[in-house]
Subunit: 247 residues, 2 copies
DNA sequence: GTTTTGCCTTGACGCAGATCAAAGGGCTGT
DNA sequence: ACAGCCCTTTGATCTGCGTCAAGGCAAAAC
């Protein structure tokens, strides 16, 4: 119980370094949804048996918007973009999934968005129906998933502020700061923020065009706030960029 | 169980006309969080005992962003705006709460946003800690709340598309269509869509200024798509406006 | 009654960011 | 090596929506 509380401030559902009862998924070759000790060891064995490994390459599609949802996923490595398309081709990226993120929290019949891999990606995959049944029998897991869904809701609301009420420069700054925070939870705090997505993806996440994203990054770099490196960005003036991103 | 499934497509948490085991809350004078038969009658009695009535007038504040969250609320009548403020005063409305809506789903320690009443408003109020404890003992309730949170997440993602990738006219059209759908679930389908919020509120929800909202409504009215009436709007050309709002 | 206040509408103008256009770099495949 | 492709950057121009300003109306306050 104490373990569950603790996790509230460290959202990733799996791969949690604090996990006490982590089991090794023989197929995925990674710890599967361990929920940081919220489950009994025997529950973990059952859950682990339900999981199947998933490996896919960059640009491969995991699932598509409006298709029947067959599975839920727990990302174990790599990253993905989650997006909605308008009939005329306009695209809104609703989020980026990083290792530890859980896809399919809503347990809905149909996928709410499409997802495809940005990089080589691995995940634990569970049959939606089997997972749902298991969830019904494990209040701890359900509580954990609810917390996770609530956290995503909060992030979505923060994104609404960014989309509705911020300038292009603020949007880009907030994006970098937000991503830095998420990477920081996963690994040793690297100086550089990896950007596995394209400028177009960033634009479609922030409600901007590629050109504007590029211009804002260039401007921040020119003013020595950031340094653009291959596949990422390094923050030079953290105070300045946090001031821009501040809520 | 069948009842719970059924509800997935009719989100309001209380006031559900299908509720079989509805109890009457002596204080609120309305059915309190009945969860449409998902709870045992005795559970409902306990829950009902936890509830306190809340009545407040238009413009009154229910709770404020970043304050410790003491209660969760189930709106029984009236409506509220939920918003986040930036330090410089810019405001983003993250949602409007209508009768049946539940505030505080996330069970977080602090409020994620501020809420104030748009009209005279009544609600069932529960102590957050007591409600949380009860939730831990009732998997049905938890599942229901999880579904509700998932639904809100979906709505937030749809709003992200609207904020990021739609024109002013499309935003206003989508707003009206969305609100119509929500009102329709609550009452007999009235011809007019009540708009208890100001133009400023609509603007702060859609990422527009008051003037632009006013201009778009005027334009739609001039083109006989809608009719502006006191405190609301009537749809004249549903096909046209749905085409504008379509995802 | 008059004044005040808040909300809505409309017009004129300006600007942040979109659009259009072009060029360069890094991949991949041949 | 070269061609083809995608991604990124940069410049020039355009435009949708924001900003500024003014006026109308209704309800509340005096």
């Amino acid at each position: 119980m104490a373990a569950v509380r603790e996790v509230t401030s460290a959202p990733p559902l799996s791969l949690c370094p604090n996990a006490k009862a982590a089991v090794h998924c023989d197929q995925c070759r990674v710890r599967s949804l361990s929920v940081c000790g919220a489950l009994d060891p025997d529950e973990l064995v059952i859950l682990d048996r339900l999981s199947r490994p998933l490996v896919c390459e960059a640009r491969e599609t995991l699932f598509e918007q409006d298709e029947p949802a067959e599975a839920v996923y727990n990302i174990t490595s790599g990253s993905a973009r989650l997006y909605k398309l308008l009939p005329d081709g306009r695209r809104q990226i609703v989020g980026f999934a990083l290792p530890g993120d859980f896809l399919g929290l809503s347990m809905a019949e149909k996928n709410e968005f499409s997802a495809d891999a940005l990089t080589h990606l691995t995940a634990c995959q569970f049959s939606r129906t089997a997972f749902s049944e298991f969830m019904d029998q494990s209040p701890h897991l359900m509580r954990r998933l609810h917390e996770q869904a609530s956290h995503e809701l909060t992030m979505a609301q923060d994104q609404m502020v960014i989309l509705g009420r911020r300038t292009a420069e603020e949007k880009v700054a907030a994006f970098l700061i937000g991503l830095r925070k998420r990477w920081a939870r996963l690994s040793t705090t690297s100086v550089t923020i990896p950007l596995p997505m394209t400028r177009q993806d960033i634009g479609d996440f922030l409600g901007l065009t590629v050109e504007t994203v590029s211009r804002m990054l260039t401007r921040l770099a020119r003013e020595k706030v950031i340094l653009i490196v291959p596949d990422g960005v390094r923050l030079l003036d953290v105070a300045r960029i946090e001031a821009l991103a501040e809520s």
